[in-house]
Symmetry: C2
DNA sequence: CTGAAAGCGCTTACAG
DNA sequence: CTGAAAGCGCTTACAG
């Protein structure tokens, strides 16, 4: 209420504009604009006068106006399924580390693993006219694909490789991850093998890891003796609760593939607390290779997706523009089985 | 090069504007604007025609133009020391959860724990004219304070309580956290007490936890028998390496305060791997109560800062506008000692 | 309920 | 090296 009569719509008080700086410095607004954006194109004397005026007034250029006039937003959007998972924040962090030095601002949005939310989020962020989009995975609503295509900006689908990328695609085969996990457990002589997942219905990459896992088990004449999509969100506690329930069941089990490391770390804790030896009684393997996974005791065998590299490459692809260089449109960053103490 | 002669500056091809939609629908641009922003103010028939045109053309309103014209950005900036730490991403996530439903977009920036980077980041993000800023901690360069003050928007300093907040302040006393940790170890009968930190020089909150810790030890006639600011970034592996080094030293130690849970979890792993009993030989206490901390074995005693509540309250404070209600300008969310197996 | 005018704060050309 | 004009794509406020 304090600004009720400050003029039409209480015109952003305090908001210093180019015109104010120009008046203060006694020059035209173009000189101010130049002094700020290409200092070399302005005489030393004027540049100094402008700088003083900018400082005196506390001028901060308005990016909306700048973007609108120049058709350049210097914005890159990163769309991830979850903001709180360490996995995705590392990708954002890696992308940010390459984009920020180039003057770009990263804008993060999350989809909560829902394709419909993804579509809504996508529509919303395109309104900010980003110069590139990094989006998780290859599964999208048709409308989402269409929007992204129409935007005519570099679009990177990250984390998983698909057959029909929108533009650029950087990731790995999650089916192969599952296969690799299964091979490892089978080679270790495990036969009574379980699977622990959570939020499986929404996580297509997790579904494919599970599918690859079962495929290889089947080749060895095995099937999952225990297979659970535990209620609750992916996280350490869900992994622990799932393991507790599994231990309480009558089923004999000698190995578990947890669909990611968060579940696996929780499962290891619960197994130990339940008096089981890991890997003696129970081998446990995860996916992601969180920083943590090497440091718990016993340390966790897992499969490492080079997350930071994905973030970095995705950002570089955005900087490079559309994936016109066809060789770079699809990058398999590969994954690595990291054998540690838990198997 | 493909768009070299598409007109002046290859005028964003593909970019559909309000005018295009208006032409398609056979109405004025104001009707389109209204049909989109306040559908109730437009006749059913026209609204339908506009909707059809929007869909047909794949129109996405340009937020730069909208923000510029309306002086509303619907943007809230969150400035954190690190993007990859789970602690900060949880705060961002909690803030996002309350802001998104209100039509706001959260923009995250990180300072790498540097006050100078913070100042630069601040200057940069204010150019996007956010309607609110949530910033970590109470330690800022004078220029940063000045900028934030001038912006005349709600500013929330989060995570720690200070004497002279810029605007709104939501957090806890980190000195008290340190005191609480010390009291707990002393009450448990520990006497040969160590401290493990990392990146201490840049982390003022961590410094104050350490100060409070030492203060209470001194009251019991004790001092740290081992005190390390381990090289490397805060993280699980740094905690593990610090513990390994400590175990290799000649000093007798029966308890450790790790300045945060990431270090503490790594330290627990390394202690176990080094053949120590936790808490038998060594009690370990951390700070933060990561989701993980309750699930490792032995589970970690720690001090819980209600991070999600901080994020939520900060976002709500931004929505409520300036902290004019003085009772709400300073919120002590409190912390809680969570005693578990590691002590 | 609908629309033509003016303007948000910049940058892009274009003149000097 | 410097500046006045035009315009980016919207919304506000004012008429009908």
């Amino acid at each position: 209420m304090t600004d009720a009569k400050d003029g039409p719509r209480a015109r952003k008080r305090g908001s210093v504009t180019l015109k104010d700086v120009a008046r203060e410095a006694g020059v035209g607004i173009m000189t101010v604009s130049r002094a700020i954006n290409s200092p070399d194109a302005v005489s030393e004397r004027l540049r100094q006068r402008v700088d003083d005026a900018v400082t005196a007034l506390g001028y901060v250029p308005n990016r909306w106006a700048g973007s609108l006039a120049s058709s350049r937003s210097r914005l890159v959007t990163v769309i991830v399924p979850s903001l709180s998972s360490g996995v995705f924040s590392e990708i954002v962090s890696a992308a940010d580390a390459v984009l920020t030095p180039h003057g770009y601002q990263v804008m993060v949005s999350n989809t909560s693993f829902s394709l419909d939310d993804e579509e809504a989020v996508c529509r919303k962020v395109l309104g900010w006219r980003p110069e590139g989009v990094i989006i998780s995975g290859i599964d999208h609503n048709p409308a989402t694909r269409e929007m992204l295509l129409q935007a005519e900006i570099p679009v990177v689908e990250a984390l998983e490789l698909g057959d029909d990328p929108i533009d650029i695609n950087i990731g790995i085969s999650h089916i192969d991850v599952g296969r690799t996990a299964a091979r490892h457990l089978v080679e270790r002589g495990r036969r009574r093998i379980a699977f622990i997942g959570a939020e499986m219905a929404l996580d297509f990459r997790a579904q494919r890891r599970r599918a690859g896992f079962r495929e290889v088990l089947a080749q060895s004449g095995l099937d999952l003796v225990y297979d659970v999509d535990h209620p609750g969100r992916v996280g350490y506690s869900t992994g622990a609760r799932a393991m507790e329930r599994m231990l309480a069941s009558a089923v004999q089990i000698d190995a578990v593939f947890c669909v990611n490391d968060e579940l696996a770390v929780g499962a290891v804790g619960a197994a130990l607390r339940g008096g089981r030896q890991v890997p003696g009684d129970l081998a446990i393997i995860g996916f992601n290779d969180l920083d943590l996974s090497a440091e718990i005791f016993p340390s966790l065998t897992t499969i490492r997706l080079p997350r930071k590299e994905v973030g970095r490459l995705a950002a570089e692809a955005v900087l490079a523009g559309h994936g016109s260089d066809s060789a770079r449109k699809r990058v398999d960053v590969g994954f690595e089985l990291v054998v540690r103490e838990s198997t």
